[in-house]
Point group: C2
Chain length 203, copies 2
Amino acid sequence: MAAKKKTWFAILGLLSWKPLSGYDIKKLVEIGLSHFWSESYGQLYPTLDQLVAEGLARKKPAQSGKRKRFIFTITAKGRREFQNWLSQPTEPPQLRSEFQLKFFLSSRRPLAECLRLLQEYREQQQELYELYTTSDAILSQALDEDTLPEEMRGVLDDGSREQVLIFLLTLRHGVRSCEARLAWCDEAAQMLQDEVRRRASVA
Amino acid sequence: MAAKKKTWFAILGLLSWKPLSGYDIKKLVEIGLSHFWSESYGQLYPTLDQLVAEGLARKKPAQSGKRKRFIFTITAKGRREFQNWLSQPTEPPQLRSEFQLKFFLSSRRPLAECLRLLQEYREQQQELYELYTTSDAILSQALDEDTLPEEMRGVLDDGSREQVLIFLLTLRHGVRSCEARLAWCDEAAQMLQDEVRRRASVA
DNA sequence: TCAGACATGTAAGTCGTTACATGATTCA
DNA sequence: TGAATCATGTAACGACTTACATGTCTGA
């Protein structure tokens, strides 16, 4: 139980909300956590069995519906493990950014190359930003009106305001980060172009 | 040559600056790329041999110094591969943030728990921010005065302004991101506390 | 002399994705 | 009837870290 196993806790956390199948969990992650988390089936199903083996969850076939389907329920032990993980210090995200790597390594290439990289990055971020702000608007409105947006039924149940609020806040983390990156792109492009001009004037 | 192998290109990129040993590369990554990249020896040395096997680099024992030491030099083919990688579309960083995972999953826990997570995160970011701004100041000054800061001799050679500029800009990406995250923490804490108050007033 | 930096490497294990394999059910 | 979705799983691979193993050289 020592190491990382973040997948374990991602799953336990979702199970702490309500019993779910592997498939449910996959969907939930895609809808709710997609901008900062992902899980593949290849990871999910084996991990679920491990959780059961460790006594952190229970597996039982679903009686409703005719499909082969297994519902996982968190155990008291699982809940304790999850809460313990929550209270444990969080390791800061160590991102590996291919863009930044390229940008840094391009410092001996023509400045046009750096600028092209910058522009490509900016376009990606802009697209992301629009995605985020759309969802942000929907969630903000929902919070205002104290309702649940349709897209979220099944993901967030009952009229829990906190859930909507936290959802909105995690999203807004993405929004703010995106904004910062966009601003940085403009600042960086500006400085690179200033440098081009400076070089021209010195020569 | 199809897939990811970003380590390959990180190394090739550094070798495109000048011939280096595995140890040199490790140091260079730690000093120059540490806030968005890392390489471990377990990755580095085998990859260097792979590069040689693919004809992208050449390995030769160093004649200077008495220590066992191998210098790697990029080949023309290696250079082509590197430049090709640079021009290839960059995949957007998919971060997996343990903090965001915790924060999201804590939405059914007492609000105090969410606030604690937030505060811990803020402290981490604050620390990072101070680290970044210190380096930023040094690099900004160096750029102003057209000199190389001592810490960078060996990392960046000759008086290449572009190198210092790009170095500063990659760093500033971190600075801007940090600022955004700090601002987000404050915004989020504010909104959570408003919610606590709102709940009190409704009850 | 001995700590700390220099220097290279391997083995084992963790973490995660992709692609594949299989099959039921629903609905247009 | 056939495409989409529901649903579970495995095998193979790739990326990366950690810990270990080994030894040299420099300078206080």
